[in-house]
């Protein structure tokens, strides 16, 4: 046991001696949270649009004012003819053009209906459909108000956003960042640090020492386990105090879920290190097999339901997917074990599989 403790201390020293890596490891979650919290936004704010007003009456002015007043749009330009649209789009200076044809107001009053055209730069389809939806809702609101004032019946929608009243994106990126960081530290760092011992030949020294292979592996894992837990706590605290992400469920269940995922990631790291011979190989496997799926196939950024069937099936095998489901259920919805035991079982199953594969692959002899 003493030997083992000594070995763990050696591993800690090893890690702490490289301050640059340590700084990066703690900077990544903080910067990532700040980026997601303050910089990256899917919300549309001040989107630059242009208006091509061939009618120039009081009503078109009113609609333009309403568009501006929502805060979604900035009216960057007033165009004079349709030829300018293409040039502006190609320069990338505007995203949408709203066109009022001649006699807009007169038609609306005389016929009760007037045409309005929207041209959106759909080279960014997401933005284009959102802008279109927002513009339409402003225009429809305008007409509804007018009708309502004149005593025409309307249907209104009343809505409530459950679990996230203010639609804060923090509810998504705090759990997501957690998955990414735990994966990064636990799996990527472990796999690289073990392969480094192999590459530099010091693994041999460890294997001929009185330490048993299992002790070597556990000793290697311990510092990263500690780091992961520290990072997990840091992320939760920042999430709770800075971004006001609630922790509605039981703290014990939350901690259990996180530690289970950390163990899962650590075992993945060990498994990769039993396959890879060099750090470079370990890095590439980790990046392809861990980072991308964590970001893309876990439901962190992109909803799984929208993906093609094949990818949905693939995502079943991604540990972060189950972690995120469990984490969000506990943190945001405040659900208990009765709701999430399935997710935890899947994770335990994966953990067992990774451990079995690692043990079978682990070589204690030179080739």
């Amino acid at each position: 046991m003493n030997r083992f403790i000594a070995f763990v201390i050696k591993e800690f020293r090893h890690l702490l001696r490289d301050p640059r890596t340590m700084i990066v490891l703690f900077a990544i979650p903080v910067i990532q949270l700040l980026l997601f919290g303050y910089v990256i936004s899917t919300e549309i704010k001040n989107a630059r649009i242009a208006i091509l007003d061939l009618s120039k009456d009081s009503m078109t002015k009113e609609i333009a004012n309403k568009l501006r007043a929502t805060g979604y749009f900035t009216i960057e330009k007033y165009l004079n003819n349709t030829h300018d649209i293409e040039t502006e789009f190609q320069k990338g200076s505007i995203k949408e053009v709203i066109i009022f044809l001649p006699d807009f107001e007169r038609q609306l009053i005389r016929d009760g209906v007037a045409p309005l055209q929207i041209i959106a730069d759909a080279s960014d389809p997401n933005m284009a459909s959102l802008l279109d939806a927002y513009s339409r809702s402003v225009i429809y609101d305008f007409i509804e108000e007018r009708n309502h004032a004149k005593g025409v019946g309307v249907i209104k929608t009343e809505f409530r956003m459950v679990y996230n009243e203010q639609l804060r994106s923090a509810y998504l990126f705090v759990p997501g960042t957690m998955a990414l960081i735990l994966m990064l530290i636990s799996a990527l760092m472990t796999s690289i640090s073990i392969t480094r011992e192999k590459e530099s030949g010091t693994m041999e020294v460890l294997l001929v020492s009185p330490l048993r292979p299992i002790q070597i592996i556990l000793g290697k894992l311990t510092p990263y386990l500690a780091l992961s837990v520290a990072n997990m706590i840091a992320i939760l605290l920042i999430g709770y105090f800075v971004f006001k992400v609630p922790i509605n469920g039981s703290l014990i269940l939350l901690a259990f879920t996180c530690i289970l995922f950390i163990l899962l990631a650590l075992s993945l790291g060990v498994m990769i290190s039993t396959i890879a011979k060099t750090q470079q190989v370990a890095m590439i496997i980790s990046l392809i097999a861990l980072m991308l799926p964590t970001v893309l196939l876990s439901g962190f950024i992109f909803p799984i339901e929208n993906m093609p069937k094949a990818l949905q099936v693939l995502s079943i095998f991604m540990p972060p997917r189950w972690f995120l489901l469990a984490l969000k259920s506990v943190m945001l919805k405040g659900l208990g074990l009765g709701y999430i035991y399935k997710y935890l079982l899947v994770m335990i199953l994966m953990l067992s599989a990774f451990i079995i594969i690692s043990v079978r692959n682990f070589k204690i002899r030179l080739e």
Binding site: R20, A27, I28, Q32, Y38, V39, I40, E43, I44, A47, G92, K95, L108, D111, G112, V113, P115, L116, I118, A120, S123, D124, P125, N126, A128, S129, L130, A133, R136, S137, Y140, F142, R146, N147, K150, G151, G153, I155, K156, T157, R160, M161, L167, S169, Y171, L172, Q280, V281, M283, L287, L292, I301, F302, P303, E305, N306, M307, L311, K333, L335
Partner: protein, 371 residues
């Protein structure tokens, strides 16, 4: 010049000998172009929606029909109680629940406001916002129809505006032709940056850099010898990726490919310069990996690949001046999808050129032949 050519030859021999790396250079683009492009979509295809119709009137049934007709919603109409509705949202069985209260039609016909209630699971705020926007659009459309139907277009008090939308450059709002070029940029960047960065520092770790240090090779020759092979690999991967983009996703090539390759070359020189600079200040591959990973992650998130940089606060946009990815992602989409020409992107080319000169000068300056 001959010296540089020998150095390039040496690099290629080394890369070719490493079977794993050789495969990674080819496989990475393939995997990424296939999986990422399909996975990275915000497009809402199927929102599971529960409708509880407590009115059962003609108006409410017509409204349900309007929702069913939309391709965004998969509708179940069930007579559930409020607590059952809440439970089904809690269990994530439905993303959206709409309740049409009894007396809905009556209220509406009495020229009042008929209200429907929407309950939206907003754990994913953006999906929730989009669902709401679609719901409102459907209701608004229906409103417009009802006004015309009930009042008749000739009654001057009621009016409507006929909105029609043209989506230029991508009329079907195909998300893949938007993502594929962006993913391609990430790919070329990651390969170039990481490979160049790890390569130089590996020479340090294995000690082979000493042999170069005692040779008459000049500092700039050494950096150029490290840069050019990866520039060639990067451009080759771009060709490969563009072919994949065309074949798999039918990405249009509206603009000139020459324009694109001119920019790509300038861009790669800058990106490789960053990778080389990081490796001149690092001692181990692990350090390079972490510093690079950190910057690449920040750069990718801010690049506008997933979210438009226009929505960022001012200071975020200022940080983005130093983000090479943001330039290339913007340019590749402009050129491929909109057919922008060299003059449209000349500002970006000059900015990248300046960037490249600066980082490479830094890399040459930081590379020490004495340890």
């Amino acid at each position: 010049m001959r010296t540089i050519l020998y150095l390039i030859q040496k690099e290629f021999i080394q890369i070719a000998r490493d079977k794993f790396m050789g495969r990674a250079i080819l496989l990475m683009p393939l995997i990424q172009m296939i999986i990422l492009v399909y996975a990275a979509t915000f497009e809402i295809k199927e929102v599971q929606m529960l409708i509880v119709d407590r009115d059962g009137s003609e108006t409410s049934i017509e409204l349900i029909r309007k929702f069913s007709a939309s391709r965004f919603f998969r509708i179940d109409v069930l007579p559930l109680s409020q607590s059952e509705i809440d439970e089904s949202i809690k269990r994530s069985k439905y993303d959206v629940a709409m309740v049409i209260p009894s007396g809905f039609e009556e209220k509406f016909q009495n020229l009042q406001t008929g209200e429907v209630q929407l309950l939206i699971d907003a754990v994913n705020g953006m999906a929730a916002e989009l669902s709401l926007a679609y719901c409102r659009a459907i209701v608004a459309d229906y409103n417009k129809e009802l006004v015309v139907e009930m009042m008749g277009p000739n009654i001057p008090s009621a009016s409507s505006i006929q909105v029609s939308t043209n989506f230029w450059y991508n009329p079907l709002l195909d998300y893949k032709i938007y993502m594929a070029p962006g993913i391609l940029v990430i790919l070329i960047t990651a390969i170039g940056w990481f490979m160049a960065g790890m390569n130089l520092v590996r020479e340090k770790e294995t000690g082979t850099i000493e042999q170069i240090n005692v040779s008459p090779i000049q500092k700039y020759q050494f950096i150029a010898g490290k840069m050019i092979p990866f520039l060639i690999i990067g451009l080759a991967d771009l060709v490969f990726g563009l072919i994949l983009a065309k074949v798999l996703y039918h990405v249009p090539f509206e603009g000139s490919l020459i324009t694109l390759f001119v920019f790509a070359t300038v861009y790669l020189i800058a990106v490789l310069g960053i990778g080389l600079f990081i490796s001149t200040v690092s001692n181990t591959q692990q350090q390079v990996l972490f510093i690079s990973f950190f910057f690449v992650m920040v750069f990718v998130l801010m690049s506008g690949l997933f979210t438009s940089p226009d929505n960022m606060p001012r200071w975020g946009q200022v940080i983005n001046w130093f983000n090479p990815l943001a330039y290339f992602i913007k340019v590749i989409r402009m050129v491929l999808l909109k057919g922008s020409s060299l003059t449209d992107i000349k500002a970006e080319i000059f900015q990248m050129l300046l960037y490249g000169l600066l980082v490479n000068a830094l890399a040459i300056w930081r590379y020490r032949k004495v340890s």
